[in-house]
Symmetry: D3
Subunit: 318 residues, 6 copies
């Protein structure tokens, strides 16, 4: 007994080092042995309004400890299911190295981290950082076969280039759609004015996007929504926390009113996890300095842990 306690530890949420879910920290990326590898990508030079997403990984990690009561798995009485039993191995890889003033190098380091997770056959879960970090994430999948992207977001992020900028947080979905191994995008939650102009929408549709607003998605419901993703497609999920209503996710750079409520996203992800193979996840734009109550970080941690639960439940870990 390493800590010398005769009766184990109670391990309350506020106790202990803040790794994701209090899972083991593995800084040696060549020695990963895990089903899920969590990576922090604290990059925020791509933001166009409020910055601060660089502290997103730390905030989400700390919030995730709220869900770590030291049980074996998490029992959900609504589903009468125990999610994330001990058989699911999650490790925290720590953060990709960020070089201030240098977008290219920082993105390259994020790509390196994701490649390391993939090399270890772990599901990469990347916590941003602003949405531009999706760009190196997608790049890292260039040898992983074809897949579809499910983007849950307030903004289309489909700007090609403005003033030379091609790798800011308004560009990632355009960059993704350009990859030959990305077979299409489902973009849900898109609403209100943003940095994407009319042409962006037209381009996206032409390049294979299915674009749905919150009201449109709400009318369909979670199941019909998940069925718009091509059957059989492997799915990469990119979740911008501003997809949610600012009432529960105010801690983000560019909040947009009229967003999704909690169960809407949860149920969508549950359906997708049941019907498709999810091969990668990023959750971006948590900016804790705009989250004085902690609501946003807790939401991010809760959604990530639940989604992982759904994925591995579908894979037979129950």
């Amino acid at each position: 007994m390493a800590h010398g306690y005769e009766s184990g530890r109670l391990d309350l949420p506020f106790v202990g080092i803040s790794t994701f879910g209090k899972r083991p920290y593995q800084p040696d990326w060549s020695a990963l042995d895990a089903d899920v590898a969590v990576i922090g990508a604290p990059f925020d030079f791509g933001t166009q309004w409020r910055s601060g997403a660089r502290f997103g990984p730390r905030a989400v990690r700390e919030a995730s400890t709220l869900f770590s009561f030291g049980h074996a798995g998490a029992y959900d009485h609504e589903d009468d299911a125990t999610y994330l039993p001990g058989s699911v191995k999650i490790v925290d890889m720590g953060d990709a190295d960020i070089v201030h003033t240098d977008t290219e190098k920082s993105h390259a380091n994020i790509e390196t981290a994701v490649r390391a997770a993939l090399a270890a056959k772990a599901l990469p879960v990347v916590i941003g950082g602003d949405h531009s970090i999706n760009i190196p994430c997608i790049r890292a999948f260039d040898d992983q076969g074809d897949f579809h992207i499910l983007q849950i977001d307030a903004h289309l992020d489909f700007v090609d280039e403005r003033h030379g900028v091609r790798h800011g947080h308004g560009n990632p979905m355009r960059r993704a759609a350009e990859q030959p191994y990305v077979t299409g995008l489902t973009q849900v939650g898109i609403r209100n004015v943003s940095s994407t102009a009319r042409e962006g929408y037209e381009d996206a549709r032409r390049m294979g996007s299915d674009i749905l607003s919150v009201r449109q998605a709400r009318k369909l419901g979670a199941q019909a929504l998940s069925e718009r993703i091509p059957a059989g497609a492997r799915v990469y999920v990119t979740l911008d926390i501003d997809a949610f209503c600012p009432s529960i996710a105010p801690g983000t750079g560019t909040p947009s009113h009229g967003g999704f409520l909690y169960y809407e996203v949860l149920e969508l992800l549950q359906h997708v996890a049941q019907t498709h193979d999810i091969i990668g996840i990023d959750l971006v734009e948590v900016a804790p300095d705009y989250d004085p109550t902690g609501s946003t970080s807790i939401l991010a941690a809760q959604v990530l842990l639940n989604t992982l639960g759904f994925i591995f439940h579908a894979r037979g870990h129950r």
Copy 2:
């Protein structure tokens, strides 16, 4: 005219000492003469994540002054009713004494306060403090006949014992269910992962609990929900503010996304007040340091005052 003003006082909400609803403060608990006796229970050593509920009673009292415009009663145009007319006597008993580091003594003092209210035939309304303060509240009812408990909460709070802890904020409903005079529990709003494991749910059901999640309760609606409480049962209401969605109640120790919206709880309480005799209330887990906008405290005060209005309206005070 005590204050020497010829024309009475306007008494704006921000003016005056913060007792509950600006009602009289009665520190002499042997001299209570009231229909409702409000008690502060500023105890928070039972928390497992963020503390600070010790300042709950003060925050709810201050917020309650917002609803004290000096009118005779509160007119609600939707119900076309005037609630809490002058005939309903509410007094503020102040707080139970708390002894730091000592859960047992602090709980005993809370029990003493509730017994004093009951001895005076007043409806006890206890403002926590963390949910463990429900334990001494229920104990104080040991000579008051049988009753049913309506718990509105995100968490089941049905842990028996872990590491010797039996009186923390994860245990109260288990302690309540053990009392011979508690005939059953209706537990609504329960959702997500918490300190109660699967066995807790099984135990609760075996000991007579009816457990409903937010989505399950929402599907039923307020009336059907209230009808699940045994007809004729006298009801004790314990309301954990984290039953509500963090969007309106972020100021609490362990917020849980996907909670109730305002009217859902309001209408449930209105129905119950119309059909059952409510014999005691506690409202717990308001932690004002996580409530920078005041939204949570205002919600707590508003729900308490409305519920009291419903109860005494049903009793004929109109």
Copy 3:
């Protein structure tokens, strides 16, 4: 090229002086040449609980820069429409002068500003300040013909006089209803206890008001709601930010739970803009010191810009 950049400016939202929507500032009110004239009315001595609405105009202006990405117009993919194209001229007139301790003079200065906008044939858009600033706004319309008022608010604000106060933030709708050129009021969102007693409601109805709570309005829906406004009536809109749910609009003096969600108000205003001639707007009670996340200011800016878009889209600017 004034700034010396060869390629124009990217003009990110966080860059530049905070006028409303980054539109031109015109301090010379005799030289206005605009379709829309935005006026700040930073007056808050009329508040009965939390003050601070004096900083509302600055906060809404800064938030409005979030919606200024330097495009020509704002494309909305749900409506497939481009709102506020370059042909709609918006100017920021700055603020009316406020004289501390002196309600009368401050109100007179606000009236002067609105008269200047009207003299220039611009649509006046006044950003409060507390709701009492509606009083001088309505006064300024005394030579503009008859009109109807659509009030979206949590509170009826129909107090006649208490302790001599006739121009506080609980009085404006009474003052408006007294004007011969105000033909009636539609008051939506009214809920919960406030400074208006039962008599206020009775007076309002007798003087021609149609009063609807949030739940009543929700049941009707946006279209039916807009149809309760007399057909053909020219409409002045007064929007108290506390009409919204505190979950998205906590930054206000007297938040009231159970308010409108975003789309409910948006769709109501869209319908009204399509069917009626909107001749003036005020948006009041944004108090940024209670808005640590910026959610309230962003909501205010977003609703104002969207409403202006709807109005001028209906007038043919597309």
Copy 4:
């Protein structure tokens, strides 16, 4: 024993109703029996920058509970003295009534309260509110004989009239100097730019003021400073919290850098209390919404309680 505890109460600071120092609340101003009468004056329509001092009385009261550990008197080891023993009777009179939009009535109500305290032979201690509340305080002393005023403040507050304003928070010292029974002013801490122009300083000096900046006062030291007050003069102390450095008193409307540190003011007040008869005190401009750490409210409460200790220690209560 009213509360039924066999062993008395521990009465921790966070427990109990927030009256000043947890002393008795006496709303019947004709029945005052006290050495010190504490009055709240929650008026802030006189502010020229940030408002919110209306919540000053509540915040200072709550902070004052930190100094109420239930001991008999407060032992200070540096002075080897016990201050405020049980023989000093302090009561809290609650707040003067405030009428929104109406400076004159609100000020009149404050005057009434101070007169009530004086009529009971109690030392009035008024907690603002903005500095304009000093105006009715001084008026209430019109039948109390001559006295000198010691103002500790960042701002001279000596504006005669601008735009008709004579009773805002930039005017009180001018109003005081005009009273025949005010024999002179010592104004310390005055620094930086403010609403008082050069003429204000010249007028003040002509009307008998001794004006000292922080650096000038610091060079003199507390004793020499106190000796500039005419020997034998009875002294009224008006303390604007912005006299202090914003490092310890950020929670105020118009903070001014370069202010006093804690011991500088404390020692000045200790000297004055030892050598002069202090006949009234007001402490103004605490604005808790700008005080997220509570530092300012705690400072205000600490200085008030210490000063009362010094006064009654000098009067023989030890």
Copy 5:
């Protein structure tokens, strides 16, 4: 009278558009006619810890309105001087355009703005942004003759290159020292650990720097300190707000305990302004999201306005 007020405007600090000091906004940089040209440089991709300095220009501008009471000049009773009389023309040029993800372009745009000010013979005052914005500022002076730099800062910022970074906020003084027209640096306030290693200090001294810690500077006093700047040298002042103690300047990215107090910096700048020709100023690293009380922004505005007052007082504007 543009606004139609017969008696002018009172123009309280909280009223009006937030340009620097409420001075005129001149977006046409080819038409500058001013003694002082204020430029915002909202760039913060160079930060190594907390970001958010992009909102520094807006925050400092808003705080500066506190010092704009509508007087002709600012009277300081300690100096018995009126600073910044109407004869000193200050204009606000707005912000340099910033391109997210692109340090080079953003810096180039800042350089353009400073060149425009210099071309108009105005004193450029640049508000950051992080300290890297000093790099383009100094570049813009390449045709302005030789000068000395006075840096007031917690950090040496003398890193040459790490991981390819040469233009982050740890590099500016190295970049400046490399310019042939920079004759030397006086670096005061330097303390504690930072991104500059021992070699950085050695390099700096070798390249002509005079490095002084806060304690060393304090021992010397303001006058002796100012005398260490070569007599006759023209001086460019770069003031990092973190030179100040976090007690008064918490709102910055990398606060460092043990910093300067207000008068220490003020008196140093006053001495330098009296003895040297100040040819340019930048004030950097104000990050308002870490400044909940506004203390830091107010400090920045106050120091800038005072310094300008000293400079033009020395030049004969009194």
Copy 6:
């Protein structure tokens, strides 16, 4: 190269898992190999006013990353010394397990952790948590020989027992003085009213304490102060963050005005480290929820790292 970066990592402060100083985490306490072992003790049930120190260890750890720029050691130009070179091995042991509602068990777990550090011959550095955690820390030294305690604190913490409480945060110094192996206490910074009454001071002096207020300590200076500690004594340092002025340490439960400034404590610790053998350290009462700017956590981390630097510099690590 574990992370796959060819050129090492830049490792900016905001990047990476928050262990203390980004040093290795060693959860296996039987395998410690370190000169310094950092332990979190997130216990706060002993507080008598504001709680929240349970989050102190996490906050101090995160702040400590600000001082981890990836250099080999930290160069201080004032001392011309490099502190904490690679030869000093620091590990983070994580936190002692805390059992809510149970002071005894929680304290026992803290004691276990300190014993583990001592068993490994590492210097234990314990981050609280409230000051009661000093009790188990001192207990763990029962087999380490005699030593003297240097307490730097606002409060004497010498209460014997009240209402049965003997292990709250008002009792630790009494408990320490009772230990036979504690040869005496030097208690500096003690000021103002607190939970210790006059008898506490008398008891402390009788039991061997040297008590000094801030003003008394300031008059002596750091060197004279350090000389009051018996020559040759081994010293345990307990540092309550509220010893500091609330201007730099507002984030604590019971702030007390008039505290130490940064250099005063730093220089005292530097002197003591040079002249005495420091055998253990605890730093307590950091409560991050009252520290919105981060100033307090940064102070705590900075003082701890500097003190460790002084200790090992004195031991020859340079």
